[in-house]
Structures are given as C-alpha cells and as structure tokens.
C-alpha cells in the first residue's frame, strides 16, 4: 500500500521535471494500457497543448485544429513512458532531457529566435542565486 499511487490526484496535472530538475510542463494525460486478464498498466504520460484541449472539451479540440499551425500542434505532444519516472512527490521527476521533448519546441524556438535576439536576455541585474 505504501507504493500506492492515486493516478488522478498524484500524477495527472502534476508538475514534471527533467533529469536536470527543470520544469518540462505538466502531466496533461496518462495513458493506460488495458489488457485482458491482467490489471491495466500505467503506460505513459502525455504533455502537450493538443492533449489539454481534448480534456477541456470537444469544442476546444476543434478550435485548436482550426488554429494556424494545427498540424504542428498534434506532433508537439511528448509521450514519456512511465518507467522513465524517477520519483513522485509534489513534483514528478522524469529521466528525460528537456531538449529531447517535442512539447518543449516552443520554448526552444522562442529562446533561439526571439528572446536571444533582444539585448539583456542572458543577464539579470542582481543575481540573487
């Protein structure tokens, strides 16, 4: 019972962190594998806007498909096998690297093409850390 996990309370919507303890989004959905004669297996976690829109409702999913770049949206979903999970607490640490995740594409793209083109993006006035 100590290893018990409440999937909706402890995993779904929980903050995920990568190998370097950086935020990589939230668990937007959990994929369960239903098997005949065996208990359902927790197969993977999904991160992505398309998944979130589906959860909000069909209307939102349809709206998302109408947006420009909709094709990119569907492929921007990260599927992380559940056995990559290292620890589950207030956040879930996963053995992946942020740069390998399709759902982090926007973050990388913005950093490279927009943010870093603006002066001062790499410094902070007084670094407290």
């Amino acid at each position: 019972m100590n290893d018990g996990l409440d999937l909706r309370h402890d995993v779904q919507d929980a903050q995920l962190k990568d190998r370097n303890r950086e935020n990589i989004g939230r668990c937007d959905s959990l994929v369960l594998e239903l098997r005949d004669g065996s208990p359902p297996r927790v197969a993977a976690m999904l991160i992505g806007g398309a998944v979130r829109r589906e959860r909000v409702g069909r209307w939102m999913a349809t709206l998302g498909r109408l947006l420009p770049g909709a094709r990119n949206s569907a492929s921007a979903v990260s599927r992380i096998p559940f056995d990559a999970v290292r620890s589950i607490g207030t956040t879930i640490e996963v053995d992946v690297l942020r740069d390998d995740l399709p759902s982090e594409h926007l973050e990388r793209w913005l950093a490279k093409h927009v943010v870093c083109r603006i002066p001062g993006a790499d410094q902070k006035q007084e670094s407290k850390t």
């Binding site: 903050q15 995920l16 990589i24 959860r55």
Partner: protein, 404 residues
C-alpha cells in the same frame, strides 16, 4: 532579527504598493458622490484582501507551491480554465487601465497627449521586468510608491471631522442615487480585492523563498501592510469628499482628480499627485504583467521566475512582454482610461468567486497545509468572503448598467 527587517520591508511594500489607478479612481468617485458614507466599503475590501493574501501567502510558504500551481493540480485542466479566464480577462483590463494611469499622469505633467505615452511606458515597464529581479520590481516600485503618503498629508490639511469619517465605517443606506451608491460599493470592493493581487502575492512568496518560518512575516505583511494601505485609500476618499462634495463636482476625468491634492496643497500637491499616480500605476503595470506570466507559466508547467534570465524561461518572459505590448494598444488608440478603470474594477469584483471558493478546499486540505490548515476563524472569514463574492458576481453586471 533578520526576519524583522523582512517584516518591515514587507509592510512598507504593502503600503507603497496598495494604491493604484483603481483604488484612486474609485475612492475619489466615492468621496465626491457620497462623502464619507463609503468608508465602510474601503474598510471591508481591505480586510477581505488582507485575509485572502494571508491565506495564499500561507499556502505558498507551507506547501512550497503557488496558488495557481495548486489550482491547476486540484481542478485539472478542464476546470482550471475557469479561474484562468476569470483572472486573465479582468486582469488584462486592469493592466490597460494602469498603463493608462501612467500615461494620463505624464500627459498632465508634460502636456503631451496620453496616447503618445502608451508605448514608451510599456517599454520602460518591459525593460524593468526583462533586466530586473523580483526583489527589484516588487520593492523598488513599492518604496517609490510611499509617495502616496501625500494623501494623508492632504487629508490632514483639509481638516475633516474625523468623527464623521469614523462614522462612515458603519454601513449606511444612501439618501439618493441608490444605483450609483451600490455601483460604487461594487467598484470599490473590486478595486480592493483584485484577484491578481493575491495571486501575485502567492507567487511572490515563492520568489522570496518563504518557508514555514515565514508564517509570522506573512501574517504581519498581509495584515498590517494592507491595513495601512487601506488607510491611505481612505485618505484619498476623505480628500475627495472635502474637495468635491461641497462643490457638487461630478468627477469624470483624471484631470479633475488632481484637484484632490491641488486644493489643499497647491502646486506641490499637484506635483505630488502626478508623481504618485505615475509611480503607483507603473508599479501595478509591472506587477500585473508578471502576474499574468505566472498564471500561464505555473498553470501550464513552464519554467518561471523573475529571478531567472529571460533566455532560461522564454515562454514566461515572452508572456509578460506580450501582455505589456497588447495592453499599450488600447491606450495608444485613445481609449478613455477612466471609463476603462471603472469597467475593469466591476469585472474584477464579478470574477471573485472562482478564485475564492477553491481556497476553501485548499486551505483545509491537510495533505497540503499539514498542521497549518485553516481553523474555524479562518474558515468563517473565508466563507463570508465567498458569500460576498457571490453577491458581487450577481450584482455586478446589473449595477454596471444602472449606475455605471
């Protein structure tokens, strides 16, 4: 000992950061129309804000997680959308109003139309967020905001009957213009209890690294800080009551509002009014943009911190940048800042239930709050605030139409 320094700083930050365009505009209109009769609304709003801030601050200090973070986890994305939109839409309108406040102040100071100030102000606020740390943004703007103490000076100079002011603490029915009276009550409450305020406070507690040891600091900052801040807002109302009511002046432009200090204190008062307006609105502009970025980033799980360099949290930094840019547009196009302010305050009031009611669940969840969950007093206060928020939600739109 170090904690006391933080307490003092926190209190000062709350005082200096309390006033902004919404509280100034609504307090002035309240005083001009109904004298001291609406003091109770300011007092009630201040107390509610203090309670909500103490709770979201305690939530962050004990759990190490912000209110938005917990909202997303507890409600799931499907229901998180509700408070998300309810905070974002009125919050954005308030942001536009604050930017407008700075622009109007600069117009009064320089003679250059406020439309031309929209983009420059947005740029300066952006630069502050881009290069500054959380401490600089929060404390810098709030310390400068202490200039708002000038309203206390002005009020003293006007020699009101302080007993009459005190009598205003007791709610009383108006003798005329009922719709207008209750409309102002809703506006004042919306200006005092803006959701972005306690959301920002919760995120700020994490930026400042608050832990369980900071619960006392939290209580004093939220309580005492807001008490004094609310007191200043009451001084604004007092000034307006003394200056406008006897002359039966209906306030519908920011230029008139300046009279509130120009009358008792002459040219110095006028100058200080402009300085205070610009600084307090500028501080709020920076704060709300950050609050919006926290809302997106914490709700969706992005990396975030005002202490991180923008290249390390690009989506977070892009969000506040985009919010500032979008907020400048209506002002640059010439939208009436005072009308916008009034609408945004009423919408803020109407949006309260969706951020107050979930607190009832979270503050009693022992898995999150451990031994620091709400006691009966806290829960009673929260339930009363929740009921008030529902009343405001139901009354806001009708009153906007009847009394706005």
């Amino acid at each position: 000992m170090k904690k006391w320094g933080e307490v003092a700083l926190g209190v000062v930050t709350s005082i200096g950061g309390f006033l902004e365009v919404g509280s100034i505009a609504t307090s002035v209109q309240g005083g001009a129309q109904f004298g001291f009769q609406l003091v109770w609304a300011l007092a009630l709003g201040t107390v509610c804000l203090a309670v909500l801030m103490e709770m979201t601050g305690r939530l962050a200090a004990v759990s190490g997680r912000s209110y938005v973070d917990l909202l997303r986890e507890h409600l799931g994305i499907r229901f998180f959308i509700i408070p998300f939109v309810a905070v974002l839409v009125p919050g954005f309108l308030v942001l536009v109003s604050e930017l407008g406040g700075v622009a109007i102040g600069l117009q009064m100071a320089t003679g250059i139309a406020f439309r031309w100030w929209a983009i420059p102000v947005a740029l300066v606020a952006w630069a502050l967020l881009w290069r500054g740390t959380f401490g600089l943004v929060e404390q810098g703007t709030a310390l400068l905001g202490l200039a708002s103490v000038i309203f206390l000076v002005g009020a003293l100079k006007l020699h009101p009957h302080w007993s009459a002011v005190g009598a205003g603490l007791v709610p009383s029915a108006p003798s005329r213009d009922h719709a207008k009276y209750w409309y102002l009550v809703v506006s004042i409450l919306g200006a005092s209890i803006s959701p972005y305020l306690y959301l920002f406070y919760s995120a700020g507690a994490l930026e400042d690294g608050w832990t369980i040891e900071y619960l006392g600091v939290n209580r004093v900052t939220a309580g005492v800080g807001n008490l004094f801040g609310g007191g200043l807002a009451i001084m604004v109302l007092v000034c307006a009551a003394m200056v406008f009511l006897p002359r039966r002046i209906e306030v519908d432009a920011y230029e008139q509002i300046a009279l509130v200090l120009a009358t008792p204190l002459g040219r110095t008062g006028f100058a200080f009014f402009l300085i205070t307006l610009c600084i307090t609105c500028f501080g709020a502009t920076a704060e709300i943009s950050l609050a919006g970025a926290y809302l997106f980033a914490q709700g969706l799980g992005w990396p975030w911190s005002e202490n991180m360099r923008p290249s390390a949290d690009s989506r977070f930094a892009s969000t506040y940048s985009l919010l500032l840019l979008l907020a400048a547009i209506p002002i640059a196009l010439g939208a009436d800042p005072l009308k916008l302010t009034n609408i945004s305050m009423v919408l803020s009031a109407a949006s309260l239930p969706v951020t107050v009611i979930p607190l009832l669940v979270l503050m009693n969840d022992e898995r999150i709050m451990t031994s620091h969950a709400n006691g009966w007093l806290g829960n009673t206060a929260l339930v009363l605030i929740a009921l008030l928020s529902i009343v405001l939600f139901l009354a806001a739109v009708p009153l906007q139409m009847l009394g706005g």
